[in-house]
């Protein structure tokens, strides 16, 4: 039996934890929250309405990205193609617009000779996969002391936004790797 993490099924389990559990601080240091029933009541109402949403399938598109990624993955390991070498690995997140709320989803970036993969390790999930041939250009935003966001603009007009503390290093790694791609003519690299 595999644990279920799909938020459509486990939302209540998650909220039980976020609202009622976790690290506690001496009451005199924090603003009183636990003692104010007001919040609990309001949050419970919010949960009830989430449950209603779940019932009526409003959140159905949450799994779109997951389904998409499942078709791209082989469980528990990166499926590298013949002769495809792993170049480097970074920790960061990708901006995902599908789902309940657009949000940043964390994972590990794997830079190979052919593509960028963003992997959530447990449970295994491919959050993003981009072949260098698809890339129109790379731009960096707010790169400050190495940290910031990287934007990968695809030829289809699609945009992938990544955020990580080693943004400039990853950019260099990708650009170097792209230099080795078979069809460099189709790739435009911005400095």
């Amino acid at each position: 039996m595999e644990p279920v993490r799909d938020v459509r099924v486990t939302l209540v389990d998650l909220l039980d934890r976020i609202l009622d559990k976790g690290l506690l601080i001496n009451a005199d240091l924090i603003i009183s929250v636990a003692g104010v029933p007001l919040i609990g009541v309001k949050l419970n109402a919010a949960i009830a309405s989430v449950e209603t949403m779940l019932k009526y399938g409003v959140m159905a598109d949450w799994s779109t990205l997951k389904e998409l990624s499942d078709t791209l993955t082989e469980k528990q390991r990166l499926k590298l193609m013949d002769g495809e070498r792993l170049i480097s690995k970074f920790y960061g997140s990708v901006y995902v617009e599908t789902g309940l709320y657009p949000n940043w989803r964390p994972g590990w970036f794997y830079i190979t000779e052919r593509r960028v993969l963003l992997i959530r390790k447990e449970p295994f999930e491919v959050l993003a996969e981009i072949h260098y041939g698809q890339v129109e250009k790379i731009s960096a935003q707010g790169v400050d002391g190495g940290a910031g966001s990287l934007h990968l603009h695809l030829k289809t007009g699609e945009l992938f936004q990544f955020r990580l503390s080693e943004a400039s290093r990853m950019r260099t790694a990708i650009e170097r790797a792209m230099g080795k791609v078979d069809e460099p003519a189709s790739v435009q690299i911005y400095n």
Binding site: P3, K21, L23, I25, I30, I31, I39, K121
Partner: protein, 269 residues
């Protein structure tokens, strides 16, 4: 956006007006900033003390609260998003519940957080060691009392005897026997639940690192929860537990719900 909500952090204001919203304590001693990452798109940053850090954002010393359910839900997801980010990347993460805000008072609020980390250092370290490399999972076991009762009726000699009595007695007397039978079955059902609970608990207990027994919510329809556990498990033992739960799940009229992984929210006390 609701104007009763603490959303603005004005740098010009007195330090007394400041608070720090706390997400988690993480094993990492560097200052990092994650822009527009937190609850209400606030900039999240780390406040290091030695080799550990508090993950926070600047805010007013007021709880986040609103009548707008959509907004509250969004905040909850944003809170989890930040905790989840550190949970994925670091081995020992201590999560705070939603809306934990430290008061700045007269001191610099960052300093308050740092002082707290300093005072609690050994305690926090101990908690980190406890959860290092481990994840929390929910295990809930349900049964179908009606089907189980039918099963028990067939198995129980006493129930069979009473059923025969009912069939042979006039209506009024039969009614009394039926009530009696109900009482007997209720007791049998309770005994069965007790037996199952002990059995499942001891199996699960031997395949996890720690376990907390949680409250059982009210029954919803035919399906009833008989056991609600939060389990702390080393990453390499998750499959092992999964296999045991599979076995329990194959018992007729029993179903198992296995959720996670979560940051170790239930193992912070």
């Amino acid at each position: 956006m609701n104007d009763s909500v603490a959303i603005v952090c004005d740098k010009e204001k007195d330090v007394e007006d400041e608070g720090r919203y706390l997400y988690c304590v993480v094993e990492m001693g560097e200052k990092r900033i994650f822009s527009k990452f937190g609850v209400d798109e606030e900039d999240v940053y780390t406040i290091p003390y030695g080799d550990i850090s508090g993950v926070v954002h600047r805010c007013l010393p007021k709880p986040y609260q609103s009548d707008d359910h959509e907004l509250v839900k969004k905040w909850l997801f944003q809170h989890q998003q930040v905790v989840g980010f550190f949970f994925e990347g670091y081995d020992a993460v201590l999560p705070f519940p939603f809306d934990t805000i430290i008061k700045g008072g007269n001191a610099d609020a960052d300093e308050k957080v740092r002082n707290w980390l300093k005072e609690e250092y050994s305690n926090l370290r101990r908690k980190m060691e406890k959860v290092r490399g481990k994840q929390e999972f929910g295990v809930q076991i349900f049964w179908y009392p009606r089907s189980i009762t039918d099963e028990l009726k067939n198995e129980s000699v006493e129930a069979q005897r009473m059923l025969n009595e009912i069939a042979s007695k006039p209506r009024g007397v039969a009614y009394m026997y039926e009530q009696k039978l109900k009482d007997v079955m209720k007791k049998e059902l309770e005994a069965k639940a007790e037996k199952y609970s002990q059995e499942f608990y001891s199996i699960i207990r031997s395949h996890v690192d720690d376990v907390k027994i949680e409250k059982i919510p009210k029954a919803d329809g035919d399906k009833q929860m008989i056991m609600n556990l939060s389990c702390l498990i080393s990453k390499d033992r998750v499959q092992e537990l999964g296999r045991e739960l599979d076995k329990i799940n194959t018992i007729p009229n029993i179903s198992v719900r296995f959720t996670g992984p979560w940051p170790a929210y239930s193992f912070m006390t």
